[in-house]
Amino acid sequence: MLKKLLWKSVIIVSVSVPLLLNYSGIILSQGLEKEASVEENIPTKEPLVVKYIDSDLNSADKAFEQVDPLKIELQMQDLAFPNGGGSVKELEVRGFHNGETIFFNLRWNDVTKDERAITHEQFRDAVGMMFPLEIVTISPETPFSPRMGDRGKPVNIWHWKADWEKELHVAGGFEHMEDEYPDMWHDFDFDPHPDYFNKRVHESIPLMAGGIATGTLLSKARGRSVEDLNAIGFGTLTSQAHQDVKGKGAWKNGKWDVVVYRPLITPDENDAQFVPGMETFFNVAVWNGVEGDRNGQKNISIRWRPLKIEIVKYKE
């Protein structure tokens, strides 16, 4: 009897284990992420040297003329579902620091300027820089995803947004529905004074919005054009409670020219820290709004780039 049972269980297990292994992709998978290739864990050779230049934001343009750009090839994001991007092919990065603040300059071609995300079909232009949060070695033996970091391998992401940039220069620091729909108070209204009446009714009640209640930076004037974020893998992007990064950007002749900057050292433990003389890594991504780019639909570089920060040269 016992022997029989034993045989039975051996047969059942020997059948069910291969079956489970065979279908484990279907049974156990929750996401749709493909495996990263080995090459992705090998950073490129050519570094971006962040030169020490005694300059500041006002004369940053001149400082950037003194440094060599690093050209980064971009491709579509094809690993994390939903995939997308591919419309922007190349990004130029420059960097310098003045002993206190680190400045990066990002330039890429984009024939359309998409700096609003108010209607259903509007998506913003944006650019992102990513740094490992801690000092790490990256190699096939010690992998570190160049995409969005990983569990136990956090990254710090700086995300510049074209609409946030525009909002720095509008009254109140935030664009509202009426900026996109200037006739919203009197569309379909035959009242002789609709402008006065509808506007007054609308403004007589406090704005009720989940976004505002939860304090989402997307939903209110935030006085900066770069969002300071963290991630530990796909779908985990989270805005920081303490925002430290700023930026300024302009679109001219089919080209975005964006500067993002931050103090080298911040008191925030969720920020990557930059000490002159150190070496770390960075990666970039570009979103082209007119193509519907958002989230994983973006133009990315799939290799980490070394980042060398020059030591401060004191004047005699």
Binding site: I26, L32, A80, H120, G235
Partner: protein, 420 residues
């Protein structure tokens, strides 16, 4: 993708997450036959949740005229077209005895692709096929109001000369009341790359986390019912929240008992009954009005079950509309549901009295027998009406409502019958 069971389709289907049914499920039964499209539900919703800037176009509850009306315009035509043009065996149902199962496949077996399966087999960059409606499509929530189906739709050759008669009218339209379906397998939830959308374990309500949402509009794109909406003012998306504070019993009026959602409680035509389905669809509770109407009596049917999301708002189909159209909209259960509704059983007659008698959600009903008051014949079927008494109880066992089938009437004194 994982395999989950969808009892509307009578089969397992592909879904990005494991099957995880809530303990109880927010649900409603809408009796289309009684709706007069007064839009009181729509305004109750509007004045409660979407009166603020950026929500001008938002109608989490809307009532549209079928076959042409739709908010956003032609939403169902467009999804059906996507399935029809690209899917395998679109809209194909098997309804023979062996394809039916009282518990797991009460309507039969759907053989076509769902929106999830189509997206996968076609290798689309979506979890579920869909599209983002543009401003123009959102702009006219009640377009084609009261517009009847053209003669051409039903009868290619000649105009209907005679007046319309049951069982099918030749000139027809009906009102479709729509809110978020709080689906068992929400496409919006599947679509969100950030997992900002969640389905509550306690009552199955589907919500967008306003803190995690980043306005990617994937939910707007992939919900086939088009109920998540993007709010330009805050750059993030919002959707029907099933008035969850009321469902939780936070409103003091019902003294901590669960309360029907605003759009339900406001219904003038008494077409709506809101409640919680008991979580196990295989063992429905015959004394729960929701379970009884949906699972046991099967008089209320899901909206477009072939999409595959297992929606949880159920409709008693309109008696007069062409069956082909209704089968496309509510699945193959239409004929049985309409037979039962046209010649209602003694029990159905009693349960229908519960609609809109109280704001408190009813979780149990009892019927006390009364005398026979009426007898007739409908479509060759004998109908007997008994003046039974139906009693509705809240989940804590308190009797909330006691009502008879025959409405009490009062004849005024002759002196008061003033005629001019």
């Amino acid at each position: 993708m994982t395999l989950v069971h969808n009892w509307h389709l009578g089969r397992t289907m592909e879904y990005p997450y494991f099957e995880s049914r809530p303990k109880q499920q927010f649900a409603a039964v809408f009796n289309i036959n009684r709706c007069i499209a007064c839009q009181t539900c729509t305004m109750a919703h509007k004045s409660t949740w979407t009166y603020s800037k950026g929500q001008e176009y938002m109608w989490w509850n809307n009532v549209e005229t079928k076959p042409y009306g739709g908010y956003p315009q032609f939403w169902d035509h467009k999804i059906l077209q996507l399935l029809w043009d690209n899917g395998n065996n679109p809209m194909e149902w098997y309804t023979s005895a062996e394809d039916m199962d009282e518990k797991k496949a009460p309507y039969g077996l759907y053989n076509g692709d769902t929106i999830f399966e189509l997206a996968k087999t076609k290798g689309l960059n979506q979890m579920a096929v869909g599209y983002i409606p543009d401003d123009k499509e959102w702009r006219f929530p009640n377009i084609y109001e009261d517009t009847a189906a053209s003669e051409k739709i039903n009868y290619e050759t000649e105009a209907a000369k005679e007046s319309s008669e049951l069982p099918e009218h030749k000139r027809w339209f009906f009102y479709l009341q729509r809110i978020c379906n709080h689906c068992t397998y929400p496409a919006c939830l599947a679509a969100c790359p950030r997992k900002a959308i969640y389905k509550r374990k306690e009552d199955g309500i589907v919500l967008i986390d306003q803190k995690r949402c980043r306005g990617y509009r994937k939910c707007v794109e992939q919900c086939p019912y088009k109920k998540p909406m993007y709010r330009g003012e805050t750059r993030i998306s919002e959707k029907c929240i099933a008035c969850y504070p009321r469902i939780e019993g936070k409103d003091p009026i019902t003294k901590g008992r669960r309360m029907e959602a605003r759009c339900m409680a406001a219904c003038v035509g008494k077409i709506r009954l809101n409640g919680l389905l008991t979580g196990d669809y295989k063992n429905p509770d015959p004394k729960n009005p929701m379970d009884w109407l949906i699972h046991i009596h099967k008089v209320a049917l899901p909206l477009y079950p072939q999409f595959g999301t297992e929606p949880n708002v159920y409709y008693i189909p309109p008696r007069w509309a062409p069956r082909g159209y209704l089968r496309q909209m509510f699945g193959p259960g239409v004929d049985e549901a309409l037979d039962k509704y046209a010649a209602p059983s003694r029990e159905l007659m009693a349960v229908l009295q519960l609609f809109r008698t109280t704001q408190t959600m009813l979780s149990r009903f009892e019927i006390e027998d009364g005398e026979k008051i009426y007898e007739s014949e409908v479509m060759g079927k004998k109908v007997e009406v008994y003046n039974d008494t139906v009693i509705g109880y809240a989940s804590d066992g308190t009797e909330m409502v006691r009502i008879k089938v025959e409405e009490p009437t009062w004849e005024s004194d002759e002196k008061r019958m003033i005629t001019y």
